[in-house]
Amino acid sequence: MNQLIQSLVDALSSGATLGLAALAIGLVFGVIRLANFAQGEIITASAYSIIFTWQLGWYVAIPIALIIGIILSLLMEVGVFSRMRTATPATLLVASFALSFLLQRVYELLFTNNVQTAPVAPELARSISLGGIRVQMLSVATILIAGLLLFGLIQFLNKSIWGLQLQAAAADFRTARLVGIPASRVIGLSFVLSGVLAAAVAFVSTVKTGAVGPTFGIPIVVLALIGAVIGGIDKIYGALAGGFLVGFATSMLASWLPSDMSNFKDAFVFLLVIIVLIIRPSGLLVRGGTVRT
């Protein structure tokens, strides 16, 4: 029983992390049809900043990680993607691959190929007892951070006029412009929010590993992209739920697969993804997402 609850808490934590990462991808995709693979490098940049500045205190390191996430995200938009407005989603995806590989090489040049380490929030690495059941404090903290972020984000999206503009643009970009919603404002906003989410994901992932290398963000963004696609990448909340499901399933498989099969947990996840996409190509959580004939 204890093991089940522990693995459930870990799975919720992993799901929350990937949910945030997938939401960042879904926000941008909804507006400009860009599945930004280079989102992983925004996570990596924020993670490096946390490693290098943690000794200055969390109240310095976390704001710096946020600022770096937002600035790098906006730089990608201004420097690359804004110049490709008429490009197809496939071209944009390829461009984001190129940007991702370029930034990985930049990180190698700046910080070498070796991982950089620092004890980030070591107090969260301990386990605590909740009602007699021991759970990782980091897992609980991750669930709380993700929950608070999501609550704030949902309030912003549903209550503020800026959030409504972002939702409208994500639902129907052309009509949003015809209604008078400024394209540049909502695109910029989607990149700012994706930068904030990248910093949050970087924080919880850095606390978990304590080490950051040039490809730190890749495994996160791959799973987040898969989650966003199976949830329905063009629906903001679909991407979030899809990311959560993939994170949850990956963690549960890691906990419950026999030890000689645990290395294949990603293969099982990908198999699940293939099955879902065959049955519902538009995404698991998109209404009307049935097989195309």
Binding site: Q167, G180, P182
Partner: protein
């Protein structure tokens, strides 16, 4: 000749899609307080004309709104110059509430002043939108969605309201209700440009109706032509 302040002047407007012409240098104007119709068969260039005026497609020629050239402006900036479009198929934001759709319509206003007055005007014009303010817009009936789409466009407080096939897919009662509202909007001094398939209805409603064929204006009809079957048949079939 129609009299009244000229709200919209379109001169030599041309629109093409990758070199394939959709609109071939048409000119017309829409005075304030008048309704002007554009009719014609499918593919005549009616919707492209509206999108060209909005700057949503690449266009040539000039488009003047209240004496100011809006050529080269993005759709959102054209809205801020006083032109609103109710797109074909309504395109309301179905996942959002009626209230939020109307709020979003207000984003394109030239001035924040008078927002409450405009909202009161829209709710007076379409009381059902007030009644269903918290309902998800996608759950409204087709006629109610059309009212919402017009209400959303009016929230920008435009001088020129353009509608692309507002009767499409609506019941006769809903069509009457929409055109009653358009009458009131016209009487309030706004210029109305309406694209329609229903020729007889449009010709009767509008002070002047242009017939488009293959991207060109081929005929101008007056309200008294509404029941002239020969003229209407010629308008569509040449």
């Amino acid at each position: 000749m129609l009299t009244g302040d000229i709200g919209l002047i379109v001169s030599d407007l041309a629109v093409d899609y990758s070199g394939v012409p959709a609109v071939r240098g048409i000119s017309f104007d829409v005075p304030a307080g008048h309704a002007i119709g554009l009719i014609g068969p499918n593919g005549a260039g009616k919707s492209s004309t509206l999108l060209g005026i909005m700057g949503a497609v690449t266009r040539q020629g000039t488009v003047e709104v209240n004496g100011q050239d809006v050529g080269g402006l993005s759709p959102e900036k054209v809205v801020r110059r006083g032109v609103s479009l109710v797109p074909e198929g309504r395109h309301i934001f179905g996942a959002l509430s009626v209230r939020d759709n109307l709020r979003l319509g207000g984003v394109g206003r030239r001035s924040k002043d008078g927002y409450d007055d405009t909202l009161a005007y829209v709710l007076e014009l379409f009381p059902i939108l007030g009644e269903f303010a918290d309902r998800q817009a996608g759950l409204l009936s087709g006629g109610q969605q059309q009212q919402l789409a017009i209400g959303r466009a009016l929230m920008a407080d435009p001088d020129i309201l353009m509608l692309d096939e507002p009767s499409l897919g609506l019941s006769p009662t809903a069509v009457d209700s929409v055109f009653d509202a358009l009458s009131a909007i016209r009487q309030a001094g706004k210029a109305v440009l309406v694209v329609e398939q229903r020729a007889e209805f449009t010709v009767a409603f509008c002070e002047r109706t242009y017939v488009l064929h293959d991207g060109e204006i081929t005929l101008t009809l007056q309200p008294e032509d509404a029941h002239n079957v020969d003229k209407l048949t010629k308008a569509y079939f040449g």
